[in-house]
Amino acid sequence: MGSGLLEFIINTLKIALIFVGIVSTVPLLVWVERRGSAFMQNRLGPNRVGPLGLLQLAADAVKFIFKEEFIPQKAEKVLYFMAPGLALLPAALTFVAVPLSTPVTVMGHTINMQMADINVGIIYIFAVASLGVYGILAAGWSSGNKYSLLGALRASSQMISYELAMGLSIVGILMIFRTFSLNEMITAQTGHLSFIWQGSTTTVSWLPNWGIFFQPVAFVLFITSGFAETNRLPFDLPEGEAELVAGYHTEYGGFKFNMFFMGEYGHMITSSALITTLFFGGYAIPFMSPDEVLKFWMGHAQGMAGLISLSAADIASILTTLTHLVSFLLKTGFWLFVYIWVRWTLPRFRYDQLMDLGWKTLLPWALANLVITTVFMFFARVKM
């Protein structure tokens, strides 16, 4: 009972910490987006509040809280208040299944650096992420504004269309990794690129064993649908401000608007983390398996053991986890930057072009990729 309670407390603390982490990453991303866009457009961006304008985030949060609560006359009140929460919830929940780093063992306790080790992680993420449509539809319908309704319809239609291509692009990856668990996928991607070709093992020593080298087409399909799923430019038709004012959140202000914003950025974070996990080895360091990293730190931990009251094994475990966490953050951070970069580079699609791209380009390509992978694996007996 005593150890069970301790475990529960540790797990709850972990969840709270990671949630706070996400919530505080969002303003940071907004800052990067505003400063980055300013840099790309040759202007200054927010630079008045605090050093480099970093305190702008805190100022924004305070401003959101001190805004007037306002309900439009034609709004469906209950749904109108529920919608921001419905938009935020799936964004926060998807991150639960993403493995952040290797488990850390301190004084006999092993702590997983993942909120929930779900054995069908990838299905869980897809299932929960697709619930994001409800928040947007509820917002658009309950606002009692025609722009909101049109924006919500566009958003839901676009999200379900691109979900198909996204779901299909993953099938090839599943065939190679033969697992739904994100942890096992990362384990499969450590070391050098190697596969079994007609019964004999082939190793390419100058490439890491990453999913992108097995499924390059799937990667392009996945990242493209990822942009559409998060309603980011060049697919931000739902809030195309030149035609729809602000789309589904036209009638929202203050903290309720902030929640839609946090939802969008939350989806962006999960999507980047998923790209990292499926195609770029997750937290694993290229060419090195977690065991080798642990062995490396073991060699250095002997000297440090005297300085702190922890055993050498504990220190090595902590250092290994930290190294992998940094690796994960660097990879995910890079894809987050790509999201921002693309937003300020590409122009917006027209709606019929967007639907054509989803149904007539991405979907056939995903089907073709799947069939080619199947046939190829049948005849060449390629195995990871």
Partner: protein
């Protein structure tokens, strides 16, 4: 399975708590002004609205949703198959042939939908 999903339930409570607390905080801290008729109107570029939310919208949205359900179910069928594909190849080509038949039917349906102009937006 329940054990695995327990953190999800805890997180749902945390997120709902965050939403409720922050919304009530705004409710308490924000200014309270008497709403005027103009302010409560649906936003419409500054002039009185001439239309309301019962605006008709394209039936294409329904069609897209129906097509999505059809194709999404077929994608779901592919997931468990993909998991066991390489292992089951050792027992002969049945799993390969079976899925090729399935994919052929799926592709035929897709071509039919395309040729019937169900994917066109104008």
């Amino acid at each position: 399975m329940i054990q695995q999903l327990a953190p999800v339930l805890v997180l749902i409570v945390v997120v709902v708590g965050f939403v409720v607390v922050s919304l009530s905080l705004t409710f308490l801290a924000g200014p309270k002004r008497k709403p005027t008729a103009q302010k409560q109107m649906p936003y419409e570029c500054g002039i009185p609205g001439i239309d309301n939310q019962t605006t008709k919208f394209s039936v294409k949205f329904y069609l897209t949703a129906i097509l999505f359900i059809l194709f999404d179910i077929e994608v779901i069928f592919l997931y468990p198959w993909a998991l066991i594909y390489t292992d089951f190849l050792n027992y002969g080509p049945f799993i390969f042939v079976e899925m090729m038949v399935f994919m052929a039917i799926l592709t035929f349906g897709f071509i039919y939908v395309w040729k019937a102009n169900a994917l066109d937006w104008d």
